[in-house]
């Protein structure tokens, strides 16, 4: 296997955490209560911790004086491989929670399998991260229940978020070639193997509080191959601002 492929796979793993971490960090100081504010910031911190582990490893593989920061900040838009779901904006708290829930179910299933990766570093990152993703999933699924089963207004808002975001989740469990190759090598996971369990878990919670979802109405979503929505450019505009405006400096 070429290092280039492993590098690509690490980006695929790390970019979801990077971009979702960014979205959550935008909310810091603006949450509906101090407790939720602290919890969302915590999740953002966990995700950035994972990003650093993946990208330190990626930088080492890439060589050429790469660092976790050059990997995180100095790629062009088409070189980011996060799923479309995680770049969706923080329209309201319902969107934040539903986006988180849809990701957490996937993330937890993925990390559980990655614990057995033949790549020791990926396996170690998965072991550490699953404790975090497990907490994230408990938090987000409980909030889907609260919002979906709370008041008429909260149900409506959560339904709107589900309707908007559900079509993006197919991308999470639809494999791209690198994922298939990595699975064959025992390093990565073909997310198609997570599909049934993923939809079971998601639908169980949605059904519990009568949130409706369209059956398999897939949206065009190719974030994993680097084709994003227009939102990613603005995220990168902020994320990369300092590194682009003041290149080659220590911070």
């Amino acid at each position: 296997m070429s290092n280039q492929k492993l590098y690509q796979y690490l980006l695929l793993l790390g970019d979801n955490s990077l971009i979702l971490g960014h979205r959550l960090s935008e909310l810091c100081g603006h949450g509906p209560s101090l407790e939720t504010d602290i919890a969302l910031t915590n999740m953002s911190l966990d995700l950035y911790g994972q990003v650093r582990s993946y990208f330190q490893y990626a930088a080492k593989i890439k060589g050429d004086n790469s660092t976790e920061d050059s990997v995180a900040f100095l790629r062009t838009e088409r070189e980011y491989h996060n799923s479309i779901l995680v770049e969706q904006e923080n329209k309201d708290f319902a969107h934040v929670i539903v986006r988180q829930f849809f990701f957490d179910v996937y993330h937890n299933l993925l990390l559980d399998k990655l614990k057995s990766s033949k790549d020791e570093i990926i396996a170690a990152i998965a072991h550490k991260s699953i404790k975090e993703s497990d907490y994230h999933l408990r938090f987000s699924s409980q909030w889907v229940r609260r919002l979906g089963g709370g008041t008429v207004i909260s149900h409506e808002k959560t339904q709107a978020a589900v309707t908007h975001l559900y079509p993006f989740i197919h991308e999470l469990v639809s494999p791209i070639p690198i994922e298939k190759e990595m699975q064959e090598l025992g390093i990565g996971i073909n997310p198609d193997d997570l599909r049934d369990e993923y939809f079971n878990q998601v639908q169980e919670v949605l059904n519990e509080v009568n949130l409706e979802y369209a059956e398999l109405k897939e949206r065009f979503a190719r974030g994993k191959t680097g084709i994003h929505t227009e939102q990613l450019g603005y995220i990168l505009g902020e994320l990369q601002y300092m590194q682009r405006a003041y290149p080659n400096m220590q911070w």
Binding site: G29, L34, I38, L45, R146, S154, M249, W251
Partner: protein, 317 residues
């Protein structure tokens, strides 16, 4: 002697004896009100203070700095939580306290009404603003009201970490490129005077000081604390190699302290009265977060009530 006066004498005797006052103890109404005012003002400062620093989270220059800043701002939220809880022990609810903030009845530290315009401002805030806050807060760990003093012990530990983190950001900038050093100097220029103002008006114009000292809420006056801050900070600026924007600042051998120039008290009062550069934006951000979050809080309560009813049904069935 009336029973009220006897109680007050006994209360003062306990304070003079360095005993802590606890929530269920008798206390003069004014002592209670002063504490609600001061603790809530402190809590509000923590959560409004999240905004200027939060402004740079998405643009932090490295992953390490981003994580450090996120964790710091999250700590401020945690401090807000302890402090609101401490205020609640005096018989007021968090919702009432928020209402006082949102309607402008309660104040918060004016320093947060200044904008953060560059990454160096994050360093300057940690170094100067947290540095000034610590001087005040270390004193408060020995304040007479127990819950407040205990909250302060924990807060001080975290604040001192924040202060070092801020100074380290400044040090990195000052050892960096000329552009980075200029950024650090500019941040110092903008945050120096507002940091001195954090200690409040001069003693002669501080109506609350005398009573607060008697009740051991405060153990040092505004001017004493301000002097202490300047004496600590001036050599730190020198070590960084940047210049404090005060031509009158110089060591006075005879006093054993730094002399310093006149603070612009007109600016101080303007910002206190709501006319600072960001007063409206900061308050609006808090009001928006609260109002946009109303349906979420209502949903949580409604869901909790439903679950409680269900569990009662199960138990009685």
């Amino acid at each position: 002697m009336s029973p009220e006066i006897k109680l007050e004498d006994a209360f003062q005797a306990r304070i003079d004896d360095e005993q802590k006052i606890e929530p269920k103890d008798w206390m003069p109404e004014k002592y209670r009100k002063t504490h609600i005012r001061q603790i809530s003002q402190h809590a509000h400062s923590e959560i409004v203070g999240m905004l200027p620093e939060g402004n740079w989270i998405t643009r932090a220059p490295s992953l390490r700095r981003k994580v450090g800043l996120l964790a710091k701002v999250q700590d401020e939220a945690g401090h807000g939580l302890y402090l609101y809880s401490a205020a609640e022990t005096l018989g007021i609810s968090r919702d009432e306290l928020f209402d006082q903030l949102h309607t402008g009845k309660a104040k918060y530290s004016s320093i947060f009404n200044y904008p953060t315009l560059s990454w160096a401002d994050i360093g300057a805030i940690g170094w100067l603003v947290d540095g000034a806050a610590i001087i005040n807060q270390v004193m408060l760990t020995r304040t007479s009201y127990g819950p407040y003093a205990r909250a302060m012990v924990r807060i001080c530990k975290e604040e001192s970490f924040h202060q070092r983190q801020g100074y380290e950001i400044m040090l990195t900038l000052c050892q960096g490129t000329p552009e980075q050093k200029a950024m650090a100097q500019d941040a110092l220029n903008r945050f120096w005077w507002p940091s001195l103002m954090m200690f409040g008006p001069r003693d002669a114009e501080s109506p609350n000081t005398e009573q607060s000292v008697k009740w051991k809420i405060k153990r040092k006056t505004n001017d004493e604390l301000r002097q202490q801050f300047i004496d600590i900070t001036a050599p730190q600026a020198e070590y960084l190699g940047i210049t404090i924007p005060d031509p009158d600042l110089k060591w006075n051998e005879e006093r054993g302290h730094y002399d310093f120039g006149e603070i612009n008290w007109d600016e101080f009062w303007q910002v206190v009265k709501g006319n600072g550069p960001c007063n409206k934006e900061r308050l609006q951000a808090r009001v928006d977060a609260w109002e946009n979050g109303a349906w979420v809080r209502e949903a949580a309560v409604a869901y909790g009530n439903k679950k409680e009813k269900e569990s009662i049904k199960v138990k009685t069935a």
